[in-house]
Amino acid sequence: MDFEFTQQETAFRKEVEDFVKQELPPGWDEKIFRWPGGYGATPMFEANFKEFWDQSFRKLGSKGWLCLGWPTEYGGMASTMKQAIFNDVMSYYGAPAADVATSIVGPTILLVGSEEMKKEWLPKIARGDVRFWLGYSEPNAGSDLSSCQTKAYEEGDDLIINGQKIWSSGAHIADYAWLLARTDSTAKKHQGLSLMIVDNRTPGLTIRPIQNICGIHSFNEVFFDDVRIPKKHIVGEINKGFYYLMVALQFERIIMPIGAFRRILEELVKYVKETKRDGAMLGKNSRVRDKLATMAIELEILYGFYWRTAWLMDQGVAPVLESSALKLLGSELGQSFANAAMEILGPFGQLEKGSKWVPLKGMVSLGYLDSVSGPIGAGTSEVIRGIMATRGLGLPRI
């Protein structure tokens, strides 16, 4: 056993740290904020950050940091551990680090895409040139993606797509859809679905914004009305989309912005050490101490699953249990951090960004709202516990 980074990893961590401190615009901390574990306040999906984010991604791309986990022959460093280190550091600073293209589209194409597709898409993604949105959920297919009703029928060399997607995070600032659609209506639910790439500019594709409860436009509804794409945009084999999607789940987990938890905890500790209430330092209150100690312990456990998942992936193992635990605990920690922070800060926690008396830049009030999305998005906690039990522990399905 060894719980230290290698020298090379330590050096890499330092390099990322130096880079991000230098590159982030002054006052960045005040501008953006993402509550870890939540999906509602993701700055990369906000239109006003698009330009900065695009530029940043190209810079990261030029350093080779958008494909750290990919094999070296595709420009990567074949190290999920490095990717995890990178995400940890970047998310601590609220900096751009990973998106749907780098964490889901790229790895899936690597795994199941044709040579042609690899050649076409991987370099663009690694350079940070293209952004994708995830076209999975539909009004009647949320937890149950196999109920996907968006249809794509063949017509010559093309597919014609009709249907509707929802909760499409960042569709409005992305270039392409990574779309799940039904290509065989006669097959069983899971078996007739395909993954495909759709250019956002294709005629018939309409995007309508949804405002989430954080007051942010991150989600969209996307309508497909006779949208025509070339068949070669199907990823891997036709009708295997659902299985690809399941396999890709593990990639998704490791992009958790785990460093943001670390940051919040540090800022809270600092706050209670500096703040007097009712004549005593908050940090001397044993109830406050218990809450912060518990947060620190739970975060340490989350890091355990985080590093272990990365390590297992580098061993070539698909860690169903570990990566599920990571998602589950991450979203629960998002909630328990928000709850504990609110309880520690008292009414000050409710103040919003910009208020004169607001502590921690107003992140707690935003986080309190956003944190309810954690156990809902990207697989509800109920679904994930079920996956752990059946696929991970071998318990029988119904």
């Binding site: 509602g40 959920s137 009647n140 297919a141 949320g142 937890s143 149950d144 109920s147 929802i166 909760w167 949804i210 405002q211 989430n212 409860i213 007051g215 989600f219 007097k276 209430r277 009712d278 004549g279 109830r287 909630q335 709850n339 609110m342 309880e343 008292g346 009414p347 926690g349 409710q350 103040l351 919003e352 910009g354 208020s355 004169k356 008396w357 009030s365 309190y368 709202l369 309810v372 999305s373 156990p375 809902i376 998005g377 509800t380 906690s381 109920e382 516990r385």
Partner: protein, 377 residues
Amino acid sequence: MDFELNEDQRMLKASVHHFLEKEFPKELIKKLYQSDDGYSSELWRKMAALGWMGLLVPEEYGGVGGSFLDLVVLVEEMGYNLCPGPFLSTVVLGGMTVLMSGNEEQKIDILPKLTRGEVKLTLALSEPNTIYDPSYIQVTATLDKDEYVIGGTKLFVPDANFADYFLCVARTERTPNPEEGITILLVDAKNPRTKCTLLRTLFNSKLCEIVFNDARVAKENVLGTVNLAWPTVTAIMEKAALVRCAEMIGGAQAAFDMALQYAKQRVQFDRPIGSFQAIQHHLANMWIDINGSRFLLYKAAWKMSSLIRASKEVAMAKARIGNVYRRVTTLGHQIFGGIGFTMEHDMHLYHRLSIEGDQAFGDQDFHREKVARELGL
């Protein structure tokens, strides 16, 4: 024992429910909450005309002379429908304080107007360095001839932006016992040396900062006895805490009703999600949480109505119900999934309110500590 509301209370409950449903559609409520002017003066007058403002005001001052339990019934329904406006501030923090400790002149001056919806009040208590520990109250009022000069900053004053009068809790004397030397002063909100700033919060719930910059008020404006106001403040905080509990239970019930209905309709994996054991258990737990806590609420309210000391019961209710409201709305979101995470949906309104209610008038830790004291610890 009798666990049922009486006939009048049932009628009150039904009529309030009906009125709010009709007059306060959720679209209006959302608009009101998002605006700085979070209530409708027209509807405020209608509510007054229905006797809501004067529910607890004795008939001799133009009120209805109802019981505290009646008020709880009313407010539970207001919580169910998220009724906005400075009701609790005016009726409890203001009206009941005047009723408890005002002199006859003050009562005659204020209570009839309050009943008619013509005057709005609030109590300014918390400060940057204390939520409400009398030892750390730093706003001072110093007698200068016939006037008190008030200086300092109050924080998180509810609905101060609407108020015609602030009831300012100030230190008028340094004493060895911190609970002495505290006085309540009636301050005209138009006093030029007060500055009220609306704070932006999670629920945009009209919590304000008030800076008193040597504001002068006539010494006739003292409410109750100089230096001896702290017991009144404590009593009012207890009542306000319990009324807030009523609002929270109402809100939790609404969130539960919405989630239950949705769980019966929403189909995933070819069956209603309410047929899944995990969702069933969530809903069973929510039901238990709400109904168990409602007992605490009504027992405390009944004691208050019966003029029996209810400090322990109020502390129990407040320590528990804020937590329940938060849990119920969090599970409500979990059951609704994505659709509940949108601005158009109503669930987040309840969720926002739950944390505010939990912290208003003493949070869980505060009230658990009170329960411990009541246990003799």
